[in-house]
Point group: C2
Chain length 299, copies 2
């Protein structure tokens, strides 16, 4: 029997329906899927080709597709009886010319094209609204897996110094100033000097750039100074695309010769917490959750 998501008389608690997971790349999807299934809830995965990890996907009911096959997602999710959806993992913003659209998506193109003229935020918000009109409820990853939310204060044994705290405040101030322009979610600041600003390249490539600049002696601060600062954009839909860190981020921070990383507590996600803390301690990197209540407001 196909129970549609719009069928509000179908009975049963929503939490007993399988969770539809639109699954991109990186280590976060595994962390979320494992946390959800540990709690006894089934998942049904719409796996994004070229991004989702087949080893994770194939353990669960799934179908492969692309971000331009919304009709295929809707059919699959309804067939599986899903009412709630999460969008997890990285997906590179695709070039339209490279994708094939299914019919349902084609009918939505005018809305998405309008949204594309803004930044990622606009596009993702448009996607969320379409799903809601189809009777799905879009949830944030941390609503279904609260243990992936970044807590306040340092993880692991290394603590930020006062200088690091000053760099964190400066980085958060810069991110807030760039907010209206829907740029990246991350900057690198070392002793008040802004070394790098993330835009389309993503955090990993930005950290690699700092490592390269240091290799070419173009970083004026010593190794062991400077902070990667990540925070959600001010108007970002927090159900989608929260800043995420994992063990790879810590390795990237170490290669860039920085002291540590700070992310907004309560609105950033941590993939593989244990492995992340182990890496941070081994490499002497601090990882801290910035809480404006505790650390004072942004400058």
């Amino acid at each position: 029997m196909i129970r549609t998501a719009q069928d509000s008389t179908s009975g049963g608690l929503v939490e007993h329906t399988p969770l539809a997971v639109i699954c991109g790349g990186g280590s976060l999807p595994r962390a979320v899927v494992e946390a959800v299934t540990r709690r006894g809830r089934a998942v049904a995965i719409f796996a994004l080709k070229g991004f989702a990890d087949p080893a994770l996907v194939e353990r669960h009911p799934h179908v492969w597709g692309t971000v331009t096959q919304y009709g295929s997602f809707r059919r699959f999710a309804r067939a599986e009886g899903c009412r709630e959806v999460v969008l997890i993992g990285s997906v590179l913003r695709p070039s339209l010319s490279q994708l094939s659209f299914d019919l349902a998506t084609v009918s939505l193109i005018p809305r998405f094209v309008a949204a594309l003229r803004g930044g990622d935020d606009h596009l993702l918000s448009a996607v969320a609204r379409v799903m809601e009109e189809d009777g799905f409820r879009l949830l944030a990853s941390h609503e279904v897996a609260p243990d992936i939310l970044m807590p306040a204060g340092p993880l692991g044994r290394v603590q930020p110094t006062e200088d690091d705290m000053a760099d964190i405040r400066r980085g958060l101030g810069l991110l807030a100033a760039m907010g209206p322009y829907d740029v990246g979610q991350a900057v690198v600041v070392a002793r008040d000097y802004v070394l790098a600003v993330e835009a389309a390249e993503g955090t990993d490539l930005m950290l690699q750039r700092v490592a390269d600049l240091r290799g070419h002696r173009r970083v004026p601060t010593r190794a062991g100074q400077g902070v990667l600062v990540k925070a959600p954009k001010p108007h970002q839909d927090r159900r989608i695309d929260l800043p995420t860190i994992g063990p790879d981020t810590v390795e990237g921070v170490a290669r860039a010769g920085l002291a540590g990383l700070a992310v907004a507590a309560g609105s950033s996600l941590v993939a593989e917490m244990e492995a992340l803390v182990e890496s941070a301690d081994r490499l002497g990197i601090f990882v801290t959750g910035w809480d404006p209540e505790q650390n004072g407001p942004d400058p």
Copy 2:
């Protein structure tokens, strides 16, 4: 005879003294030196090792040095009878540990270290103040070579479209928002989407990054869309470090698959204007000087 710069009774018009040129890399120093000598004024070059072009330097009275040898510069400039100084060309912000300081510079270290905690602007302003206390007058490159100043409107035959103008406005808005953080002077915007923000890496590497992202199909806009936007920082000392473009910039814009580049008219410098226009026309790239009076205020 050594005539010191402080000696205001030494007679003769200041314009008849040789111009002291602190000379970094890139194509701008040659453009400025040639423009100054064409007007019949002599130059004396303090050539920065590793940056200045020996072929240019060796045609004029010169001494080689580093940015931490201010005493050496002062001695040379006074010996040559210079009263006015320009600072031209690119110098990578050095790591202090790699440099040897002369005595005069050592005495100034406390001031420079305080300035280093800010961005480049603070450091360069501190340098300018020190020179003025020693009786030199620091001039902007375009005061001695007005023909290198970017004019308003398009150079060459390609014109920006309305979409390009919208991208330029968005880029200028973002640069203004980042102003208080002393970040870079350049961004890349394509159809409202911010592809790249320049920080410590400089414009050429930022353009290379956009080219790489496009090669990896991570740029959502088509080739031929998007603009490099450069503008001075709001509080920048305009005698030093104005945004500069040259034929290389145009080549980088073409490799990045952008439509063109816009710089602030009247507060940006153009090296090798003729070669730049030739490249722009050959590659189908627009190069325009943005005049807020003419094009409306930044958003």
